[in-house]
């Protein structure tokens, strides 16, 4: 039984992950997933409706699902479909997140839980919110990007709510004009009125009497679609054969174009059919319209887009990073339990779980790289994913060599923490955003960025190892001398590793800068951050070689490495200056300070004499009567 227990536990987790790959079941007969796979163009890249839904909902509500008042969950995709095709229903869903008490005070309506409002709750205050927001924007006009960083908590929350409402309104006009009763029918009327309308317009231009009714009808359509074209968010109409591959358009623009061509784009009529079927609760029509649209796309050289949409949908569906995160926690707990009861099956289970988490994490990372066609790290979000991955790999290697449960705890802890950080970074929007001109180079992303990020990962591994040493040694009696020595060796080895990667990565960054800006080193904050890591590693290694520190000193310095690395990774971005300030996150600032304080406390612990350490106090020989005589001068010591 003991032999099989680890395998059974791991198989259960693996089944949980694999179960997520099964295609989602239709809901009330509607094949929502089929709609979610359809490709659109947004933020410069082709992505499925599902990604639009998830990213929009995350940025509006900070969550990946909507909860109905009775607690039932609604997926992001269903919510998006409701918003686009049944807005009067979506208007009741509590999705708008408001956190500042003053803002809550103005709104004053019933809210779900602590901080969620529906669109209907907000309608009375729209004018006032809009006024406040436009006043703020007017005040900030001409201040450039700095303005957003100077907002106070109330202003930030106000602008978040305002931007969320703007986004919501745009989504409502993305598939059909907001509140269209029967869009399919409407398009038929529109098509029929184009011919007479054009004649009427020509006649007016020539000064002849024209049919007033035709003129009026075409003018009202024009006005309606013009408005939609200005609001619509994703570009849902794909390019026709012969058009450039990036020539997508939104529904409004496309319908206005029909005035010239005299015919409707088949994609527009298909989408109208899909929207109308959904609104009128006709699942069979809905599913058939989607299938017809897919066939039409395949016949018109659009198969690559369909494929891209389906693949990204699958990636969203299997949630590799969320599942890896859960398994990391399990491995972490098992590692801690092993330290208490030293049961080998527990450690083995933990190790196998870690392998599983690593496989899932790697799958996610590889899938992302494939979807983006990029090296693993392209922004702050992916750097968090990558650091967790690298740390997990190092933890696995350590556990394989030293077998003390230490690798489990390190990998489990860093894997879990970095994925949590990544989750919060994803709140700011699309994580596969396009790269600005200077970053658009796979060569440097694959070398400099990956190597520097590996350096970060190894710094954190060394730091967490040192924390394990300090916490176990100071508070518990479990840090046996050989474990302590082994930890010392691990930290030293990994600091060497980190030195190599940080140095090479930093210099490669300099060379990239030399290639693209013509200067090798510019004292830019991100460059300085990387340099700090290199310098700190050099200090650790030289202090150790010079005999200035031993085991506890090494641990204290490795913990300080956590502070240096977190500053380099996040802190410099919070300064909001420099060429690398690509992700300004003042919300993370208190967390960073809290983290640094905790590290300082650990360093203080590390520096307390061994007689206060639970693991060491028995092994110290009785204190000598006085401090041993030291050489009076350094020169005496050299002789």
């Amino acid at each position: 039984m003991k032999k099989w227990a680890p395998l059974i536990v791991v198989a259960a987790f693996a089944a949980w992950f694999l179960g997520g790959m099964a295609p989602p079941q239709p809901k009330d007969g509607f094949d929502i997933a089929a709609f979610g796979r359809l490709p659109v163009l947004l933020e410069g890249r082709v992505q499925p409706f599902d990604s639009v839904a998830r990213n929009s909902l995350l940025s509006i509500s900070g969550r990946s699902i909507v909860r109905l008042t009775n607690g039932a969950p609604v997926s992001a995709l269903e919510w998006l479909l409701d918003t686009m095709a049944r807005p009067e229903y979506a208007d009741q869903l509590k999705i708008f997140r408001v956190q500042h008490p003053d803002l809550e005070g103005i709104l004053g309506a019933d809210k779900a839980g602590l901080e969620y409002y529906s669109f209907n709750d907000l309608t009375n205050q729209i004018g006032s919110l809009e006024n406040q927001a436009t006043n703020l924007l007017a005040k900030e006009f001409g201040m450039g990007e700095d303005a957003a960083k100077l907002r106070n908590a109330y202003q930030q929350d106000l602008m978040h709510l305002y931007n969320s409402m703007v986004l919501y309104n745009r989504l409502k006009n993305s598939l059909e004009p907001e509140g269209a009763r029967d869009f399919r029918q409407e398009l038929q009327v529109y098509l029929a009125s184009i011919g007479p309308g054009k004649v009427a317009i020509e006649q007016t231009d020539e000064g002849k009497p024209a049919n007033e009714q035709d003129l009026e009808r075409i003018a009202s359509f024009f006005k309606r679609y013009d408005e939609v074209s200005r609001f619509a968010y994703p570009l849902i109409i794909p390019p026709l054969p012969g058009q450039p591959r990036q020539a997508w358009s939104n529904i409004g623009t496309n319908l206005m174009l029909a005035l010239h061509t005299g015919e409707l784009n088949p994609a527009a009529t298909n989408y109208a059919a899909i929207a109308t079927a959904y609104r009128n609760d006709k699942p069979a029509d809905f599913n058939r319209s989607i299938a017809l649209y897919r066939v039409w796309m395949q016949e018109n050289d659009l198969y690559p887009f369909l494929k891209k949409g389906s693949q990204e949908f699958f990636f969203n569906q299997i949630e590799p990073f969320y599942k890896a995160m859960v398994i990391y926690i399990a491995a972490l707990l098992l590692g801690c339990i092993f330290w208490i009861n030293l049961s080998e099956p527990i450690r083995r289970t933990g190790f196998l779980l870690l392998v599983l988490a690593f496989v899932i994490h790697s799958t996610g990372l590889g899938f992302r790289m494939y979807l983006e066609g990029r090296p693993p790290v392209t922004n702050l979000y992916s750097s968090a994913i990558f650091i967790g991955w690298g740390a997990c790999l190092l933890g696995l290697v350590l556990e394989r060599i030293f077998r003390g449960g230490i690798g489990l705890v390190v990998a489990g802890f860093i894997g879990f923490t970095t994925l949590i950080i990544a989750h919060h970074l994803a709140l700011s929007g699309d994580t596969m955003e396009m790269l600005r001109a200077v970053l658009d180079t796979n060569m440097w992303l694959a070398t400099h960025v990956v190597i520097v990020t590996t350096g970060y990962a190894s710094m954190f591994v060394a730091g967490i190892l040192a924390i394990i040493y300090i916490v176990r040694g100071f508070f518990t009696r479990t840090l046996a001398p050989e474990t302590a020595k082994a930890l010392g060796r691990m930290v030293y080895g990994i600091v060497c590793f980190a030195t190599l990667f940080s140095f090479v990565g930093t210099i490669l960054g300099g060379i990239w800068a030399d290639q693209s800006w013509g200067r090798f080193w510019g004292w830019d904050p991100k460059e300085n951050g990387a340099l700090l890591i290199v310098l700190w590693n050099a200090v650790i290694l030289h202090a150790r070689w010079g005999g200035m520190i031993r085991e506890r000193g090494l641990m204290a310095m490795a913990v300080f490495g956590n502070i240096v690395t977190s500053f380099s990774w996040f802190g410099v971005n919070m300064l909001g200056i420099g060429l690398h300030s690509y992700g300004f996150m003042d919300k993370a600032f208190p967390w960073l300070i809290g983290f640094d304080i905790s590290q300082v406390l650990l360093i203080v612990l590390a520096l307390t004499p061994p007689r206060y350490w639970a693991s060491f106090k028995d092994s110290i020989p009785p204190a000598p009567p006085a401090t041993p005589p030291l050489p009076a001068t350094p020169s005496a010591a050299t002789s």
Partner: protein
């Protein structure tokens, strides 16, 4: 005494102390950028021997911290001294030698770069041709004899000389230039804003457009715009006096100013040269960014600014240029784009920016005699680190393989790399 000095300069303690000080310097220098700006931090913190503190209300300069150059120099001496004293070629130490050799090369290379690097910009509108680049910071007072339509004769006076004030005489000019007033930074004053200290001239643009002194700026993204009031004097008396400023010559200042004053002072063009005639020769006079003339010319054929579809996120900037160098026989088209500069004649041309409405390109022009050093240094250090750590790893693995028991009582894997250095100083108890 000498022993102590040698011991001081070869000690690992000095290395550790200098590295720690460097960490503090870099950290403070990074934080300070938010307040002081990149340029001020660079010159105060990193390109200096000492950092000074000036108590408010005084003019004292109290040194409080070593600057970047001092720390770099100390580390370099430390490194050289330690290696000279203990140099002994061993296979075991080849990695260490490579690492430190690479570091020395890097430090020296950066020092050479700091001193000899020249940074300038070339701004070309589509269809135009240029044979000079303009310095990003330094200005010159240029007097150009344009009498001969075939070639100009340029006399250039550095701004530092103008700043000293007084009379400027040079054998190249048949008259004296007298600096009446000079502001290191200035702003344009409307006719109603004339205060005590205002530059007005009796000729040229300065007759209608006045300048007041402004606070010196040291921010990276903001440059000083000096203004000067000069009088040209001959032996027989004054020839005339003019207001000169980089407000008329530095892009994009003049473009913005021209737009601002367009309505208020109709008919005034900032780009009109200010000129005068003396003894039958015509001279143009201007305060302008220092120009570096090239023995070749560059024509901008086209500029492209690509966006990602459906967004305004830039995807690429590129300049198609034509290079013409009659002496070297070069006559060809070249495409310069992001991460792909042109290297020519000891200089490198980077796609840096563009003019509003994509009317033209702005190329960054760098001349750096030590530009190759980081590449070689990086290779040396990386190989050295790899050799060093791999040999450790291998010996660790070998020892482990020999042991039947799991790692227990064995000396630390950290075979001290610089054993001799352990000899002095007390061993830490940490």
């Amino acid at each position: 005494m000498l022993d102590r000095l040698v011991n001081f300069f070869t000690s690992l303690r000095l290395t550790v102390v200098c590295l720690c000080l460097a960490i503090i310097l870099v950290f403070v220098g990074t934080i300070a950028q938010a307040r002081l700006g990149l340029y001020a931090v660079q010159s105060d913190f990193f390109r200096s021997f000492l950092i000074y503190w000036t108590p408010t209300g005084t003019h004292w300069r109290i040194p409080i911290f070593p600057g970047g150059w001092l720390l770099g120099l100390l580390l370099l001496m430390n490194l050289l001294a330690a290696h000279i004293k203990r140099f002994k070629f061993e296979r075991r130490k080849i990695g260490i030698l490579m690492i430190h050799g690479g570091l020395i090369l890097l430090l020296v290379g950066q020092f050479v770069t700091e001193i000899f690097q020249v940074e300038s910009q070339m701004r070309i509108e589509v269809g135009d041709t240029k044979n000079y680049s303009e310095d990003s910071r330094k200005n010159e007072l240029a007097v150009v004899d344009v009498t001969d339509p075939k070639s100009d004769h340029v006399v250039s006076i550095p701004e530092s000389l103008v700043a000293k004030g007084g009379d400027i005489r040079t054998p190249d000019l048949p008259f004296t230039l007298r600096v009446e007033k000079y502001f290191q930074n200035s702003f344009v004053a409307g006719p109603m804003q004339v205060q005590g200290d205002t530059i007005k001239a009796s000729e040229g643009i300065g007759k209608r457009l006045f300048f007041n002194p402004a606070q010196m700026t040291r921010r990276m993204d903001d440059e000083n715009e000096p203004a000067v009031h000069v009088q040209a004097l001959s032996d027989s008396g004054p020839i005339g006096d003019w207001t000169l400023s980089t407000w008329f010559t530095r892009y994009p200042r003049f473009a913005a100013l021209q737009q601002d004053i367009g309505g208020m002072l109709p008919g005034l063009s900032l780009t009109d040269p200010q000129s005068f005639t003396f003894k039958g020769r015509t001279y143009k006079i201007a305060l302008r960014p220092v120009r570096y003339y090239k023995p070749y010319s560059i024509t901008l054929l086209a500029f492209h600014h690509d966006l990602y579809p459906g967004t305004d996120i830039p995807k690429n900037f590129s300049s198609k240029i034509h290079l013409n160098n009659p002496t070297a026989g070069d006559d060809r088209d070249i495409l310069i784009y992001m991460n792909n500069p042109l290297r020519y004649h000891g200089e490198t041309f980077f796609q840096a920016s563009f003019e509003e409405g994509d009317r033209g390109t702005i190329l960054q022009v760098m001349r750096n005699p030590a530009s190759m050093t980081p590449y070689i240094a990086c290779l040396l250090v990386a190989l050295g680190l790899l050799v060093q750590f791999l040999s450790h790893l291998l010996s660790f693995a070998r020892k482990r393989a020999k042991q039947t028991k799991p790692v227990v009582a064995r000396t630390a894997a950290a075979v001290p790399l610089m054993e001799p250095a352990l000899a002095h100083g007390k061993r830490s108890r940490l």
